[in-house]
């Protein structure tokens, strides 16, 4: 991932969780960050706002790690530009 995207996502995590987090590509969003389903939803919506896209629910279901999330956002951004 690009360092800037990692920073952006990390900031959004911190806003949603209300505490500092440190993330890598392999960070598991539910397991490592202790998010419940409502937390995940709020986080996904914040990501969607920031990158101005919607992540369809089947895509959300496939996202486990930060790397998965970044791939989804990048795919959708490319899709939107095309």
């Amino acid at each position: 991932m690009t360092p800037s995207m990692r920073n952006e996502i990390s900031t959004i995590f911190e806003q949603v969780l209300g505490r500092p987090v440190s993330i890598t590509d392999d960070t598991d969003i539910v397991e490592d960050l202790g998010m419940d389903s409502l937390g995940v939803m709020n986080f996904v919506m914040a990501i969607e706002d920031f990158y101005d896209l919607s992540i369809p629910l089947d895509r959300v279901a496939q996202i486990q790690t930060v790397a998965d999330l970044i791939r989804a956002v990048e795919d959708l951004k490319i899709g939107n530009a095309a």
Partner: protein, 407 residues
């Protein structure tokens, strides 16, 4: 370890609940006496959480029709309408529902849950876009997974968020279908339907409203939120259930779509399950007649709802945003919610304990639903029990009393 070990997380949470000596997900009634009373552990208990909005479950005419139809046509249809055929009652019920809504077409399903599975998996397909309110009922989420459309979730009751998401789809092919509910089942809040209708018109989307909790409850003639908000012309599909205000079981969808009937040979949750039994059909037809002929039922329902809502609010309980027949009291935490619920039950008041993840915003709720059949005395008794338990648990902010109805 068995194959079910994967649900260990739920097991743990459930065991924690059971440790309080209660099983809120499996309350055992000795008997049910009327729309508003049951017997629990030998104690007569007020039912304040059964969605029996018009109190028609014991209506003598509905019972008589059900008995008569059962005698004449048997206890069940033993199969789907595709396989075992349509009975007169099915057609009569569909005509009655279509006529009530002033729509060309109605289709009846075996439950409201299946109605949502059916329409959401059939009206949209691959390449289409299903826009769901984030707080949608489980049957809407499940229906969205049964079909092939892309599913996008928007913020609860937020037409701007919906609009933003539809705008992002500009230029993308495929139909768009917006799905909202009339009254949301947990907090009793209604959808801002006028605003959603405006978004629908501007973006060329279709609009479906699930009126499960608003049929017979809202609107001049009881058709629901779309009627109350004066936007029926913008609503393409209405889904609902017979299991609440009509006191039976079954679901439906109504529409003016010209080719609606194609659903009968492509909609799997309609085709591959047994149709409603004659007795259920007959009591539902009769209950719909009552709903139409007796607007006084709706007036009693709303009077009771307001009395309960105002009473609880005045005591300082945190209630939902609107005085609807669903009145939810937000508890500070799960522990308090469970203990509070248990004490209510022991005092002879039954309602729903609603806990995360089944609730919006992870709230712990004491969820009530009021009936037209409740007497003023029953509502006042319920309020007394709430006040008593609130005092016993020492968290009723009774000195911050607000005048009833001030909110």
């Amino acid at each position: 370890m068995t194959i079910l070990a994967k649900h260990a997380g739920y097991r743990q949470a459930y065991d924690a609940l059971l440790a309080h000596g209660v099983d809120p997900l499996n309350v055992q009634f000795d008997s049910v006496l009327s729309p508003t009373e049951g017997v629990l552990n030998g104690q007569t208990t007020i039912l304040l959480g059964t969605n029996n909005y018009l109190g028609l479950t014991f209506d003598p005419d509905c019972i008589e029709k059900a008995v008569q139809a059962t005698r004449e046509q048997g206890t069940g249809t033993t199969g789907s309408r595709v396989a075992n055929g349509t009975y007169n009652g099915h057609t009569e019920l569909e005509k009655a529902v279509a006529d009530f809504y002033g729509r060309k077409h109605a289709m009846v399903f075996s439950t409201g849950y299946q109605a949502n599975l059916g329409v959401l998996s059939t009206l949209v397909g691959r390449g289409d876009h299903l826009m769901l309110d984030a707080d949608s009922h489980a049957s809407i989420y499940d229906g969205s997974r049964l079909g092939m459309a892309e599913v996008i979730r928007f913020r609860h009751n937020n037409p701007d968020d919906l609009y933003k998401r539809l705008r992002r789809l500009e230029g993308v092919p495929g139909d768009r279908m917006i799905v909202v509910e009339g009254i949301y089942s947990m907090l009793g809040d209604t959808a801002p339907l006028k605003e959603f209708a405006a978004v629908k018109r501007e973006t060329g989307a279709y609009l479906l409203v699930d009126e499960a909790h608003s049929l017979g409850v809202l609107g001049e003639t009881g058709r629901g939120l779309a009627e109350a908000e004066g936007v029926e012309g913008d609503v393409d599909f209405i889904v609902g259930t017979f299991s609440k205000s009509l006191g039976s079981v079954g679901g439906f969808c109504v529409s003016d779509a010209a080719d609606f009937d194609i659903m009968r040979i492509v909609c799997r949750p309609y085709m591959f399950t047994a149709s409603l039994p004659p007795g259920v059909v007959a009591s539902t037809i009769e209950a719909l007649k009552k709903l139409r002929a007796e607007p006084a039922l709706r007036a009693s329902l709303m009077r009771n709802a307001k009395r309960l809502y105002d009473g609880l609010s005045a005591m300082g309980f945190q209630t939902g945003p609107e005085a609807n027949p669903i009145v939810a009291v937000t508890m500070p935490d799960q522990e308090t919610a469970v203990v509070f619920w248990k004490l209510l039950l022991e005092s002879g008041l039954y309602l729903n304990l609603a806990l995360p993840p089944a609730t919006p915003t992870n709230a712990c709720l004491l969820r009530t639903s009021v009936s037209a059949a409740h007497t003023t005395q029953q509502i006042d008794r319920a309020l007394d029990i709430f006040a008593d338990v609130g005092r016993r648990l020492g968290f009723l902010p009774s000195d911050r009393r607000r005048a009833a109805g001030a909110l």
